[in-house]
Symmetry: C2
Amino acid sequence: MSTSLELLDFVETQKVELYSDLRALQLESGKSLSPVEVAYETYGTLNSEGTNGVLICHALTANSHAAGRYATNGKTPGWWDGLIGPGKALDTNKYFVVCPNILGSCYGTTGPTSVNPVTGRAYRLSFPQLTVRDIVRVQKQLLDFLGIQKLAAACGSSLGGMQVLEWGIMYPDFCEALIPISTAARQPAWCIALNAATRSAITSDPEWKNGDYTDQPAGGLALARMIGMISYRSPKEFETRFGRNRRDPSGFAYDPDNLFQVESYLRHQGDKLVKRFDANTYVYLSRATDFHDVTWGRGLLRDVLGSITSKTLCIGVSSDVRYPKQYQHEIVQFVPDSKYAEINSIHGHDAFLIEFEQLNRMIKGFLQRGY
Amino acid sequence: MSTSLELLDFVETQKVELYSDLRALQLESGKSLSPVEVAYETYGTLNSEGTNGVLICHALTANSHAAGRYATNGKTPGWWDGLIGPGKALDTNKYFVVCPNILGSCYGTTGPTSVNPVTGRAYRLSFPQLTVRDIVRVQKQLLDFLGIQKLAAACGSSLGGMQVLEWGIMYPDFCEALIPISTAARQPAWCIALNAATRSAITSDPEWKNGDYTDQPAGGLALARMIGMISYRSPKEFETRFGRNRRDPSGFAYDPDNLFQVESYLRHQGDKLVKRFDANTYVYLSRATDFHDVTWGRGLLRDVLGSITSKTLCIGVSSDVRYPKQYQHEIVQFVPDSKYAEINSIHGHDAFLIEFEQLNRMIKGFLQRGY
């Protein structure tokens, strides 16, 4: 293996069509889907035994561009570039790293924005409801296609971490190691409440038109993002970063149009998401997150998590208000070969996109030496 | 004094017009307002010295009906009935309890829904932006009108607690005791973020029509309430009360229309608020909350809070995610004659409307014996 820094510098998104007519994807809902196109990126080289794969499972609004830069429009590195590459925790000189865009997303993998081959029109709300287990099933199909016999590790945060847990349960001998981050074995009620508010924001925007919009329901999707961001970051970060600062510091204190900086920030985050993400997709994937429950149809939590044989490093963030450490402790309590590690950060749930130094140290140590 | 249980059982909302043309209310914004009608209720009898008054300061969407029942439509007791009455902590055999509807509200006191005497039409967005200090100034005018020379105590939670702090600062010799509950000396950035999202929910509803709606922007106001409720209650309460239960427990697990109970609950809370509260009023009062900062125009926090001479019982709630105990600790750190007490509850920020047994014990003890 000789993947150089240069090779990783220019990456490409690839696509493959899986699940032909003859072998449609059977969803948890009982419905089926065919074909399923999957967009993915790979970094590094698969060894001849097919045993050095590392799967990256992404969260709600992310995509397959986890590392490196594109040759064109190459300014923005992948969202986990800090962890993936030569010498990094997910070392591309050692591992064949794969990041697929998840089922139901809008970044190249089949989802509500894709064209339904039967009707010739976009699925939109006729897309079947999907679950985390469906997402994982499609990922397994992709890894089979790529010739991966065994994963050295499956990693992911938030909705990505839910996929990682399902990997350990659905394919118990396939992953040597699991690294679920900032996640829970079952979606907590408070997170369902937050997601319910975001879905209401989208579906109560008249521009949503029951999913049949021409232009995005921009107001609703932006508001959904605002609501989300409040729990993706931490109260302490907002206090430190914005405090009570105003957009115009010398402006009048009681002028409603002189926004608080934190309000401007949220609006900006909302507008940014509208430009890059699809509203129906948001609704589908947030529901998939709410449906996440490793015990569903299986049994008791201790037995289900107890069936995981992979060695597991479960990572939490000190300031995560969305999935506080109690949820990672619950995982570690029941997964036999597991340990908890904590990112010390004020960045809350989103720390997995920021605290690369701590993550590199934790994950590198875990993969090289165990706990 | 001989206020009996029967007397309190039937209460009436009274109204008074303050701030005539000749002596308009001067607002913090520099604007003025005249006249200002104030709706209020009183329970108990004022003593001849005018020194047994207790002021109840209400929160964002509450009203002057803090205790007792109306003779007609009398099923619902006031929102703090558990604390106000003969033998209760705010004992109406001893105290003359006053609860005014706050300036800018829509329950009888002048606010955005009131008719502007100059135009003959409702103020709506032409209503001047108000602040907590303006609210307190009007309350003082009402107490003067009622002949109250000194307050035995001012009490309130959340936005009500902000008023209580301002009472201690603006009228330092007037209140013998202050009881601020679940509040902060300055609105924290995370709360501004939450409020910003609720305001966006209202103002991005096309039915809002820049405040000139005929029918309420029901979707936006309901969504604002949903967002609010998520932080008014606690993750633990949602987990215990709703967990992952569905509206139809025997329904299909992956049916998006089979709502989670917590989602139904939030929608129900949203619909309830639409029936009883005005959208523009919500925007004005939530901004007043965000503008709350006892230091504004005054100096350092330690000096401003240090100027409070009233004995102060600052109450927090163990599970409050909106104003966690650190904010009450900050108050107690700087208010000279003060102490912190904690309500042990899973009900979060809203515990002040629920945990009457603990509140009665704390407040009764404090008023009778000091800390």
